[in-house]
């Protein structure tokens, strides 16, 4: 942390009201998101254990697998990752434009709306109220309207802040964060309108929705964080700015078309499935281009990689590269025959939403939050967080990738179905071990967030916990 601490200390100007308002907003978004992360991944651990102990917490309807699963997925998506990324995007918009945030008040409204949606969504799912078992849009319609309003207020704030920028150019990060938020508003609206969603028509919309919600929301926002945080941490500009712009447009051209690859061999029209496969391959262009851009920015500066937030970003870039490439490979019909409908897909979604998106958020928060608040996290605890999370997700993804393959091969050789369940037992056990490590790392992260935000600085008497030696 030594090297990054010196960079981090400087830009905080005491006494500037705009800076302090921005720091308060950034802190609140991060803290709120972190609470949800701890909650939603605790639910995830319970879900993982239910595979080994199906009677665990089986007394209450609210705690059964079918109700907890969407609470876990929607919680991590819309209550952890989304507000964390919006907080980062607002901070980046103001800082990279050399301008004050357009409206701190509006930023608080956004945070309130997203949290209102998250609470209402979680409670209603626990009560068995949902809008269908369609992944990532289980929340009732009006709750998703609240979420959409949160996005509208967020993009309004981002646009108006960037409009106040000093120079003519718009920094690349803002392309990704503003683009991603605008696209996501379209995604939410398309998923909400009921007219074209009957029977198989709804399957087509679902194929589009569930994958675009991932790739046109979390991906561009996370990449926006990379493009801002990485040059700050490396103390050098991004390797190729124009490659970043090229990746932006190619991602936009190919990604929206690939959703139907989740319904290969389904009765969806064959052309829709084939277009999805072709575009899944085409996605290698922005993925490899973008990843190379990040890795080349990091190259040759090992002293800035070790013991700094850049380590989180490195894992995030590798998660992006591996997870997206895996997605392309999975889209081939030949491999779908083995992997489709198995736990392999669950491993893939954790490699991407966790190995990529969540690590990108952590890298961004550790790199930028201390600059906003002037409070550094404990270096050792940041390392503990890093290793627990990295080893945890590695175990998690490996266990489900191998197990999912076993499952698929069991089906192909025509074994009685129950064999694919009993054969998975050891892999599900390893998955819960990985998940448990990930969960513990979130507790450490929550402590680090506390250190970077609301914990009193050393000068006043520490009221809650003693400051660690050498912090």
């Amino acid at each position: 942390m030594n090297s990054s601490a010196t960079i981090a200390a400087s830009p905080h100007r005491d006494g500037d009201a705009g800076d302090r308002a921005l720091a308060r907003i950034f802190s609140a978004y991060t803290a709120s998101a972190t609470l949800w992360l701890v909650f939603a991944t605790l639910v995830g651990v319970v879900l993982a254990l239910k595979f080994a102990y199906p009677e665990l917490l089986s007394g209450s309807p609210a705690l059964t697998f079918g109700r907890l699963r969407p609470i876990h997925t929607n919680g991590t998506f819309y209550a952890w990752a989304s507000p964390a990324l919006i907080g980062l995007a607002l901070y980046i918009a103001a800082r990279s434009s050399g301008a004050r945030l357009y409206s701190p008040k509006l930023a608080w409204v956004t945070l309130g709306l997203v949290n209102l949606a998250a609470i209402a969504g979680t409670v209603s799912l626990a009560l068995g109220l949902n809008d269908g078992d369609q992944e990532y849009r289980e929340w009732l319609g009006w709750i998703r309207v609240v979420l959409a309003l949160g996005l509208v207020t967020a993009v309004w704030n981002l646009l108006a802040t960037v409009a106040r920028r000093e120079g003519k150019d718009i920094y690349l990060s803002n392309w990704y964060t503003i683009g991603g938020t605008l696209w996501t508003i379209i995604i939410v609206v398309v998923a909400l309108l009921p007219w074209y969603q009957h029977g198989l028509g709804q399957v087509a919309v679902q194929g589009y929705y569930m994958h675009n919600a991932v790739g046109m929301w979390f991906t561009p926002l996370s990449l926006g964080v990379f493009y801002y945080a990485l040059p700050k941490l490396m103390n050098r500009p991004i390797y190729s700015y124009s490659l970043g712009i090229f990746a932006f447009w190619t991602n936009l051209a190919f990604y929206p078309l690939l959703g139907a690859h989740h319904f290969l061999f389904s009765p969806l029209p064959w052309w829709l499935q084939t277009t999805a496969i072709v575009c899944s391959v085409a996605m290698l262009v922005p993925v490899w281009g973008g990843s190379a851009n990040f890795l080349l920015t990091m190259r040759g500066r090992p002293e800035r990689m070790r013991r700094t937030p850049a380590a989180f970003i490195l894992v995030g870039v590798l998660g992006y590269l591996l997870g997206s490439t895996q997605g392309t490979v999975e889209a081939f019909r030949s491999l779908q025959r083995v992997w489709h409908l198995t736990n392999f897909t669950v491993g893939h979604s954790h490699l991407t939403m966790y190995g990529f998106v969540t690590f990108a958020i952590w890298g961004g928060i550790y790199a930028l939050l201390p600059r906003a608040t002037g409070k550094e996290p404990n270096n050792l605890l940041m390392g503990v967080h890093f290793w627990l999370a990295t080893v945890g997700v590695l175990i998690y993804v490996l266990a489900l990738s191998i197990g999912g393959t076993v499952q698929g091969l069991d089906w192909i050789r025509g074994a009685p179905f129950i064999e694919s369940v009993t054969d998975m037992a050891p892999y599900w056990l390893w998955r819960s071990i990985g998940g448990l490590l990930m969960f513990v790392s979130h507790l450490v992260f929550a402590w680090n967030v506390w250190t970077m935000t609301y914990r009193r600085a050393r000068t006043p008497a520490p009221s809650i916990a003693p400051a660690p030696a050498g912090a």
Partner: protein, 331 residues
Amino acid sequence: MNRLVAIAGGATLVYAVLAVLMAIMPGIELSQVPPGPGVKPLSPIEARGREIYVAEGCAYCHTQQVRPLPVDRVFGRPSAPGDFAFDTPELLGSERTGPDLTNVGTRQSSDVWQYIHLYDPRAVVPQSIMPSFRWLFDVVAKAPAGVVPVPVPKPYAPANGAVIPTDDAKALVAYLLSLKQQPIPGAPGEAAATAPLAQAAPANGTTGGAAAGGAAAGAPAFDAADGAKLFAANCAACHGEQGAGVPGAFPTLHGNPVVMATDPAEHIATVLHGAQGKPINGVTYAAQMPAFASQLSDRQIADIIDHERTSWGNHSPTVTAADVAAVRAKK
């Protein structure tokens, strides 16, 4: 400002066009797919059951889509667009932690089995990891007149009282039993469609003969491997993998008079046409045994019967496909 409008506006416009192309237009077109032959809307109680299925998130572990792949043949004929005309919200699902349920009403047509399985899945499938749905049942001191309590096996039943399905449980089971694929007249895969459970037996009609030819003294003269596989796929859910049944719910095949009988006619007829309410060793079972005549070939039924007649300490004369054909012809 102009640059901001160009980038944000341009990117939004491109994306909106792609969203119309990939989501809204296919959505409009596919929403109008007419129902396939025999595909009908659900009855009110089945529709209520479907709502419970959705609320409890059953679709996270059970798909309702049969792909045109050999691996999916065990679940039925490939799903056709017309099958989903009344399926809103759609329940195709993305994971098969449990089996596909497209055709579960045909495969597992006993409501008694469905009730026991919902009350505690491990009571009928010991290795199952499905959650139990006990809150869909009431435990009462004594079942009211006219209500048949669910015969939950002893180790899984409450210590005292009778298990009665609530209206929600009845609706859910009504929905599950309504999940039956309708045959598509004239479809090329018709043979496979009418024999959804036949996948366990590889399509090599010669194995029986080969096994018989090489049979040493005392070895079964039928395809024992096929018999065991077919039994596991079609019979084990109720009668148990080891044929022990579930006391009070599903009869054991160990020392079962029909299985032990030297004359196999009744055994064959039971597998072909199903059974209900027949006392076995003095116990009457409420569950209905499904008929397999339309789902399995004569040779497959012979393999299953011979498996039952030569396993678990049973030693009864075996039968041939010709014997099955003879009983089939009688009715």
